[in-house]
Symmetry: C2
Amino acid sequence: MTTYHHGDLPRQLLDSAAEMAASQSPESISLRELARRAGVSHSAPVHHFGTRQGLLTALAIQGFEALGAAIENYHDDIYAMGVTYVQWALAHPGHYAVMWEPRLLDEDDDSLRSARAAAWTALTAAVARHEDPDSPAEGAGAYAAFALVHGLAGILLSGAVPAPADSVALAREVTQRLRFAR
Amino acid sequence: MTTYHHGDLPRQLLDSAAEMAASQSPESISLRELARRAGVSHSAPVHHFGTRQGLLTALAIQGFEALGAAIENYHDDIYAMGVTYVQWALAHPGHYAVMWEPRLLDEDDDSLRSARAAAWTALTAAVARHEDPDSPAEGAGAYAAFALVHGLAGILLSGAVPAPADSVALAREVTQRLRFAR
DNA sequence: TGCGCAAACTTGACACTGACAAGATATGCT
DNA sequence: AGCATATCTTGTCAGTGTCAAGTTTGCGCA
């Protein structure tokens, strides 16, 4: 089989990129290294993604869509949703790291914006069901819920802080610490 | 004045690096660009910090020490401490971004480890005063508190989510959502 | 069937980066 | 005064992202 028309090059590049981001860091992702791993020329990735930023943006979109799908079925139980959020982040460290590095991404990309907005609204909608709509600080609930799970995922992934043995159990206990306005 | 013995080159390099990290991103920091801004040769920064990682580590240490100093006087009021934490992060976006990017840092650096540990213990100590020591999930309180402020800082800095006008007011309301075990 | 065109990929080049080695210059201590 | 040392420069190397131009392949259509 020749290297021409690899067939599934974009997907393979994204898979390798997720691996690299997970094992090293998002900024360690190199188009040339991805090409090397796929056995194609150094500028084959450029053809599919235009720029490095384009590739990272595609990876982030993939991540937001998968994350959104993972949490969208928990509208009733915000705590279970929070735990699922953290679990997803821990299971997909490469994607997660890229998703929250907007400076690496193309913020003008419509797919990125809508995928991210979808995940955000899924969360705010779930929070709204737990909040008293008459509360003056009603809007803060979504930020608090998101900050809690995003922050927990971030510190667990960063390893900058002593990590507990069972991170899922921790996620359960941490999400329980959230108070809603009602 | 010749360029030899600039006098304060390390500090100036770190200042420029913080600026670059804030206006672009941590990984956009280039030793050569820093040298250019300081008016020195492309490899003067290497002499002071050894590697790029060394420079970023120095920046992170500076950040942890300043952050630790900012929050260490709030042992009584954990909520005020949380707000201060978020305010500090928003006021020092360059430092904050580098601090939580351990993959960019030299994790074997003792100064880094102790500066980070000091900030962490300041927070856990403050949380412990709000927790019932007999509670089975007592340890989760520190993670929850830290996740909340760290997560809020992260999403506000990332700009990935619709940001409110008054972020300090939001920080006040969000920190109030934290529940302690007692 | 065969032709032509578009998509997929390669080759080559350029400016930029971090890192290293070796040399030049200024400062401070004795 | 003189010397050791810290500070900074110059030169070089491999690696990177990006662009331009060429080459190969597969697919639709006559």
